[in-house]
């Protein structure tokens, strides 16, 4: 340790100043990530598309449940049969009014529905992580070069997190709306006008929130691991990786 301090004295500025001397302002990081996305637009679109699809599936399932709850709340026995037809676990006779709320809450929370949501999340995760993994791996060389130019590990990390965050947000918002539109359309076809009855801004807002949070969260999660690995690599390894 002592030796390290001695060595430091010869580097002008010493430790504290060095930390400040190698910098990448946030504004610059943002500019660089935006440029990366713009220049690699097609590649970026592929990543975003996998996100859109995954999040659309999730949002479709969630909105479908909202629609079903609304339909159930109408109390129409005909629609009740239609719901059972669509695969929801309901008894064919409506329960007494005091138990109707419990039934509605269980709708979409049964083991079958939970499986579907879980499965959709799994599909989301695999798709997103794969896309981000590819996106980082093909840029090892660029990362190595940046490190040779004096970039700190966290500059690299921040660039990738920013990029993934922006892609995640854009992809999940688009995906959430696609999924919602799809679910509402299917609902309208299946249950007619009643499908729209139970859809309020609160329910849809919740679906949007959950889908975007999951999409953006997974996008970041997917990029963290490869980006950390890449950022920690010694430059020479990073540059050899692609050859």
């Amino acid at each position: 340790m002592r030796q390290e301090r001695n060595g430091l004295a010869r580097v002008p500025g010493g430790r504290k100043q060095i930390a400040r001397q190698v910098v990448l302002p946030f504004r610059m990081s943002l500019a660089i990530s935006l440029k990366s996305i713009r220049v690699r637009f097609l590649r970026s679109m592929v990543t975003v598309m996998s996100l859109v699809l995954a999040v659309a599936f999730l949002s479709f399932i969630l909105t479908g449940t909202e629609v079903a709850r609304g339909v159930l709340a109408t109390g129409d026995p005909q629609l009740r049969l239609a719901l059972i037809d669509a695969g929801y676990d309901l008894s064919s006779v409506a329960p007494p009014p005091e138990r109707a709320a419990g039934e509605a809450a269980r709708l979409g929370a049964g083991p079958k529905e939970r499986w579907i949501v879980l499965l959709s999340l799994l599909v989301c995760t695999v798709g997103i992580v794969n896309a981000q993994l590819m996106a980082v791996t093909e840029r090892f060389r660029e990362i190595g070069t940046m490190k040779c130019l004096g970039a700190l590990d966290r500059f690299i990390l921040r660039l990738f997190l920013l990029e993934a965050g922006m892609q995640g947000l854009a992809g999940s918002v688009a995906g959430a709306f696609c999924g919602m539109a799809g679910a509402v359309m299917v609902g309208l076809l299946r249950y007619g006008g009643a499908a729209a009855a139970g859809l309020g801004p609160v329910g849809l807002g919740r679906v949007l929130g959950v889908s975007v949070a999951v999409g953006a969260g997974l996008s970041l999660l997917g990029v963290v691991y490869p980006a950390v690995v890449a950022a920690r690599m010694r430059p020479v390894e990073a540059m050899r990786a692609q050859e």
């Binding site: 060095i18 001397q21 190698v22 660029e142 040779c148 004096g150 590990d153 430059p235 020479v236 540059m239």
Partner: protein, 246 residues
């Protein structure tokens, strides 16, 4: 005094790589001292360990044993910040494959190290243009690397290596991917920059054209220094090699 101090000192550096079950020894104990302002070439056939030595000097890789000192500071003792600082300010890198960042223009490539160094944007732009002018590419500053020829890309890389006025420029096979004439141009440019700016240029190469401009040549063979030739000794062997090649 300042002109003759040792900018790089390599002491007993050895490096082994583990490739699967096999252990490959790339360097078997190399001692070398490089003076500030020198134009030094590390020569040797491929696989001789010269690129490995080059990577050690540049702090891009760590030796298995032995020490590398830059300005008498043991670089193995540096933490991540200090290493980044070293790569950013003290050393400029030039690679065989140019390694420009593809998504950025020539000017942005040159200004990136300055951005990392905290230089204000307009100042960095100005200096970037000046450096591009120095390598004769001022007009092409808005072009992306793929719109430039190999020689032009390498010149951008040279401009980038000089961004933070480093003390050392490390060039790994700078002419390896270039044709004869372009290679000569790059070598002449490196030599000019080294004599004008007093930068220490260290290049790993097996390009004999490099011999003409080197102050000293270190021949590496099988991970060891075979011989070190000074400039005056060199002229004789250059003649010999020249005739052999023709």
């Amino acid at each position: 005094m300042a002109e003759t101090h040792n900018i790089v000192r390599v002491a007993g550096v050895a490096k082994t790589f583990t490739m699967g079950a096999q252990t490959v020894t790339a360097l078997r104990g190399v001692d070398l001292t490089i003076k500030a302002g020198e134009y030094l070439s590390i020569m040797g056939p491929s696989g001789s360990g010269k690129s490995t030595l080059f990577n050690m000097i540049g702090g891009l890789d760590k030796p298995s044993s032995g020490k590398v000192f830059i300005d008498e500071v043991d670089i193995a003792q540096l933490d991540a910040y200090e290493l980044a600082w070293l790569r950013n300010r003290k050393i400029g890198y030039i690679f065989q494959t140019f390694n420009l960042i593809q998504v950025m223009t020539a000017l942005e490539n040159v200004t990136l190290p300055m951005t990392f160094a905290g230089t204000p944007q307009d100042e960095a732009m100005e200096k970037g243009l000046e450096l591009l002018g120095l390598v004769g590419l001022r007009e092409r500053h808005a072009h992306k690397p793929q719109e430039l020829s190999g020689g032009q890309q390498q010149r951008v890389a040279i401009a980038r290596s000089l961004a933070n006025t480093p003390a050392i420029v490390l060039a790994d096979e700078p002419t390896g991917n270039l044709d004869l004439t372009t290679g000569e141009e790059i070598i002449a440019l490196l030599k000019r920059l080294s004599s004008q700016r007093g930068v220490t240029v260290i290049s790993a190469t097996h390009d004999y054209k490099m011999l003409n401009v080197s102050d000293r040549v270190v021949w590496i063979r099988d991970g060891r220094i075979d011989k070190i030739e000074e400039r005056d000794q060199l002229d004789i062997s250059v003649g010999a090699i020249g005739t052999r090649e023709v």
